[in-house]
Every structure is written in C-alpha cells, then in structure tokens.
Symmetry: C2
C-alpha cells in the first residue's frame, strides 16, 4: 500500500534554480532541515523526509519560465484528513511566490480513511431507476424573496418537464418565507403530483445551510421531512465538513457539491489550486455524489481542457472510491446536448436554469425540449431532424430561440 501523497506544483520564476527550489520545498515542508542533521539522526528522520520526484522546466518565449515540480510527502507526517493534507502540501507554500497546486495523488493508505461517495454515479442512477441516458437537472430561478406557494409552483413546472433532479438555488438560505422543512414538504408533494403525470421519480437537492455544527442535524431534519438529496456549498464550509456529512450513516441521501467560491482558487495560472484537484479529486475523496462545475459553453466558463480534467478526476476507475456524477453547469440550452454528450459521454448530468425557465413555451416545455434532445442525441438523430417530428415542438422552439451546436 503506497504511503506517500504526491503533489504537483507549477512554479513560475524568472531566474530560480527550480531543482534547488524543489529540494527546499521537499525538505522545508517535512523535516525542516536535512543537510545539517547528524548522520545518526538522518536514519530516524528519513521516513519523514519529502522527496522530489521530478522537475520539468519550461522556458517560454519572451523569457518567462516555469517548472512543474512533483514532490512526495510521507503520510506519517500528517493525520488522515484533508485539512492536514492541504496545510502540509500547500499551507505556507501557497504564499511563497507564483506557485499553483495543479495535481494531487493521495496514497492508498491516506485514501483508506475516506469512504468516498456513498451513492456515487451508480447510486444516483439506481435511486432514479435510470441507467441508459444522461440525467437532466434543473435549477430554481429567482427564488429569493418568494413564498412557499411560488416555490411549489416553480418546482411543479420543472418536474412536469421530465427532469430527474431539481436543485435549490445555492443562495437560498434558511429563511422565514421558505424554511427548510416546509420547503422540502411542499416541493416533495409537488414532485409526487408531477410523478402522477410523468411517471417519473426525481431527486430534490435542497440547500443545506446553517452553522457548521448544526449541518448534520439540519440534514436529518430535511431527510425526515422527505428530502431525497442535498445541495452543499462545500468550499464555503471546507472539504472536511463534506467528508463528515457524507460518511454519517444517518444522512442517507446523495449530496451534490456546488462550486460556489471555486473561482477564488482555480482560474489564475500563477496561484491557487487547479480545477481538477479542487472540483475533481478532492470533491470525490470527500464524498460528493454529484459535482457541479462551470461548463465550457456558457457565460460562467472554464476552459474545456480543465473541464475534462475535472470530469476525468470524478470518473477515473478505482476499486476503492465510487465515481461522482459530473454536472457541467451554466449556459446550457437544448441545442448544446449533442456537444455535451460528445465531450462528456453519457455519464453526465445535463444541468440547466435559464435554458429551462426561459423556454418560449414555458418551464415544463423547457424540460421536455432537453429530454427530446437527449433521446435524439443518443439515437444519433440530428436535433433539427428530431425537432421536426410531431410532438417535438418544445425542441423546435428551443432551437428557434437558442440555436444548435452539433
């Protein structure tokens, strides 16, 4: 069983000796000093010493230069929790010039303390009874300041469109108009009403908020009120909080991780934490069953290369951790479905807000347009051809409004 966690950094420096810098990181973040140690002491300390695995220097046109530096950190130095890991590999170092944490491979030993997603991609599919197509998620729109009746109405319309998951607005917190338990009761009742028409189950990911120490209780309250999924702003609370919620056996519903605050970390080339670590590996390790991240298609964008790295991190084969469902989000309309499936495969959740609520024929038609587009894409039918078929007017209207990218 491997017993070192491996961090990869991208370090920009006009003139540094990157090999020396790598060595100073490996020593400085573990035993502190090495060459000064008496030989006898070195024998004892060897097992604590960080090791430089590789230093790849890139000289750029114009004189800029950077190096990708891989360093192995012995597990023995830190407790098996994400805060300890992050503080070790990127605590002080994050403040030491232009340096970004771009990859992270935890050891089998470290990983063994993490059960990972309780449901994962397969569990979410099982819960919905849908194994043969991408899922469809819709997002509440403009619900701050609205009451239960309004919420229920909006929920029902979304559900009627045949969506598989509905997620709360991540900025909807505990409030007197739509308190957590009431919100769950009303929305799940609307889900049942819609199911009588659509024959379809759905998951409602209600936003889990409040003081950190009350989150588990709030989750149980939501579940007792009927919630069958949770939405959680992981980065506003910390990965360890997600980890503890996820491994709590009384919180027995899938957890969808929202990427709120992620843009404070990943977009700079010089600083922060790469998206595949931030929204990929660490979210899965901490137990997110679904992970939302900015799509490469919309206004809130992430370059496609990074997108696919996040997806790969969520879906990488593992005999220990279940996979997490990738949910590329923002700027999605039905005409993008063929592209999404080409980029992400069928193990993806197609997630839309404006692309459902803004549909010219209304919210329910918005969901239907997506479902038609998903079925057509799976069958290899061009969307314009599918849209022309009787009954498929919602897709035609969506294409008229937003176009197609195939």
């Amino acid at each position: 069983m491997s017993q070192v966690c491996i961090a990869t950094y991208r370090s920009y420096d006009d003139k540094a000796d990157f090999h020396k810098k790598a060595q100073s990181i490996a020593v400085g973040l573990t035993v502190g000093s090495w060459t000064d140690l008496p030989e006898a002491r070195k024998a004892d300390m060897e097992k604590h010493l960080g090791k430089v695995l590789s230093v790849d220097v890139h000289e750029l046109a114009g004189g800029d230069r950077y190096a990708d530096i891989r360093i192995a950190y012995p597990d023995i130095n830190f407790s098996r929790d994400i805060p300890a890991l992050l503080v070790t590999i990127f605590g002080k170092l994050s403040m030491d010039g232009k340096i970004k944490l771009i990859d992270l491979d935890v050891s089998e030993q470290f990983q063994s303390a993490f059960p990972g997603p309780t449901f994962g991609l397969q569990g979410v599919r099982d819960a919905l009874g849908i194994h043969d197509r991408p899922l469809l998620m819709s997002i509440f729109k403009s619900v701050v300041g609205h009451d239960l009746a309004n919420l229920e109405d909006q929920f029902f319309k979304q559900a009627l469109g045949g969506v598989d998951l509905i997620k709360d607005d991540e900025i909807l917190f505990e409030n007197p108009l739509t308190p957590l338990e009431k919100r769950v009761e009303v929305c799940m009742a609307a889900a049942r009403r819609a199911q009588q028409e659509t024959g379809q189950k759905l998951l409602y990911a209600v936003n889990l908020t409040g003081p950190t120490s009350q989150l588990a209780d709030n989750a149980r309250k939501a579940i007792n009120a009927g919630a069958n999924a949770l939405l959680f702003n992981v980065l506003a609370y910390g990965y360890d909080v997600l980890h503890e919620l996820s491994k709590d056996s009384s919180i027995n519903v899938p957890i969808a991780a929202h990427p709120a605050m992620a843009g404070a970390f990943y977009p700079s080339p010089h600083y922060g934490i790469g998206a595949s670590v931030l929204l990929g590996k660490l979210m899965r390790l901490a137990g997110a069953d679904l992970v939302l991240f900015p799509s490469p298609y919309g206004s809130v964008v992430m370059p496609k290369e990074e997108n696919l790295a996040v997806k790969d991190a969520l879906l990488a084969p593992s005999d220990k951790l279940r996979t997490s469902f990738p949910v590329p989000s923002a700027g999605i309309h039905p005409g993008l479905v063929p592209l999404i499936l080409r980029d992400f495969g069928t193990d993806v959740v197609v997630n839309a807000g404006g692309g459902i609520h803004g549909h010219p024929m209304g919210t329910a038609a918005g969901g239907q347009a997506f479902r038609i587009a998903i079925d057509a894409s799976l069958n290899g039918t061009p969307l314009r051809e599918a849209a022309a078929k009787p009954g498929n007017e919602p897709l035609q209207a969506a294409i008229d409004a937003w176009g197609v990218k195939e």
Copy 2:
C-alpha cells in the same frame, strides 16, 4: 442599524460596460431578475434587491481597464453566517471572469451575530500582564518526527529567551510521538521551569487539528491539559469553524489564526479575495484573537500596502468587536524590529522562527536579542548603539549575522 452588507469588487474587462455589469451582479445575486417583474411584485421584492453603490472605471495604459464596483446586499437575503455571506456575494460570481473581492463591509445587523475575538489584543496583553511593548512570539522549528524530550528542550530554550508566545508548527498534527495532551503537559512544564529563571509568563499556542466535529473536544482536552492558547489553520477548515470555536465559552483561551492556504486566494490581481478581507476583516469577525500574515520583509512576502490594510482591518476602532493582534510573520530578525515598529506601531507581535533558532549564540540568545531590540526601539536607541552596551551581546551577534534596517 445598517442592514446591507457591502462588497467591493475589482473587475477587469477589455470592453465590458461596467455599469451594466454592476447592475447585472446586483440583480443576479439577489432577486434574479427585476425589469421583467410586474410593478405590484416589485414593491414586495424591493427589500431583497441588491443595489449598485458606485462604479469607478480605470482605463490603463496599453488598453487594459478595470472597475471597482461596490454593491449593497440586503441582509434579509442570507442567514447570519460567513458561509452564507460569501456564497451570496462571491459564490457564483467568483467564477465569472476576472473578478476579485477586494473589500467587504458587513452591516451592523449582520455583525451583531458575531461576538468577535473573545480576548482580542487587550485580552492577550492582560493574560500576559504586558501592556507597554510589542510582544515577541517564537515558532518551533523542524519538529516533525521529533519526540517529547526534543520538543520540551526546544520549548525551554525558546522560553528562556524571554518570548511571550510560542506557537506550534502549523504542520504538526496529532501524532504518536507528540500527542496533543502530552505535548501541552510537557511544554507547559517547560514554560514553568523557564519562568523560574525569567520571571515571565508565556502563552503556548498548540496546534488544534483533527476532524471538524472533534475540534471543540480537542480544544477542551488541550485546555484541560494546561494549554493557554490555540493555533488554528482557519482557511483549511472554514471561517465558520473558527467562529463556533471562538464563541464556545468552554474554549476560554486566545486563538491564533494561521494563514496557511491564504496564498491560494490573495496574490492574484485578477482573482480571489484581497488580503485585508481574507486575513483581516473576516478573521476578526470570526473571532481570531491573534492573526498571523506574511510580513513585507521576508521570503514569504506580501506587498506592504496589503500588509498595512490587514493590520488596519484587525485594529480598526469598533465599539462592537475587540481588535485582533496583528502578527506579521516570516523573514523576521532582530535588525528589522525598528522597521516593524515604524510600520505597525507597538500593538504588534514580533514573530520569528529562523531569526531565533538560527541565532549564532543559540535559541535563548535569539529571543534575548529580539527583546533587547524591542526595548531599544521603544527608547529610540539605534540598534547598533544598544548592541554595544554590556550584556547586549545577543543583539550584537544578531546584527553581525543579519544586519540592521532602521
């Protein structure tokens, strides 16, 4: 009592209409849409609507341009906790192009949910009985892999030098060689032994680590074992965790906030969260009694302007929140003391690691050199003059090794 929290963003864009962008943020992160609302509905929703307070556009040479945008968010939209506030003002927005959260003023109403630092600057001074000079903190060096005897020896030598606070290495986690309670017992015993020689009290900030839900118990264990302060890697756990620890009446010792991971947020001009918010305002609001942050003098640097903004945020007069003790850290040696006092005033903790342990005459002399430098600076005596006096050899040796900046 004010009831809106005001966020200031710096937004870079080559061609955007910044006024339009500001308006879309103010509406998008609150009510979602506004112009489409029926007039009757607007009356109800007005109290939830974000408002643009100002847009200052700066056109730079070379065609770059940015705007500083101030937006007021009604408290009514979010619960009174830092995760809800951050997700509202910078959750989705953080991912929306080149935008950085550079300032934040919470409302009196929001702030009223936060008692702030329990001890604060004055409480730390009271605990030590020292009111007339900057404090001196020293940092353990290279303690990973060391046993209790070694730790005790290093602690004792630091204490003998007349330091006021000793902080754990932030990468020292719960471990079999130096478990939390044993570590506290051994170090506090060393503190008492040193006190018999120096006549001086000191605070030992032991590193509080472990799973989030066990932190409060671990803190109580440490306190029961004799700990009189705590060190906490706030950003690895989340501000709300600090807030909950700080307001827990059973955790009745000062908490020092370590800036580990801060470099993932503040250094980029285009992304992230400014240092004065990240390490200043939010740390104080969440209840940090002392706040460490990178000094402008050493290898781990922060521009002086940002440094002073952090300090100002920690010390700004308030009739509601106690002030937090500023602890500029990294690269500090005795020859910098006059500069530190000029930049930060006397309400500062002078904090050193290598500048104490690396002293040519040893660790205890390292602390003494700082104490002599602090006294000389307060008296307006140039350090070289003070160093020449009988008994002040430790300062002379430090100056010989590292020089003076006055």
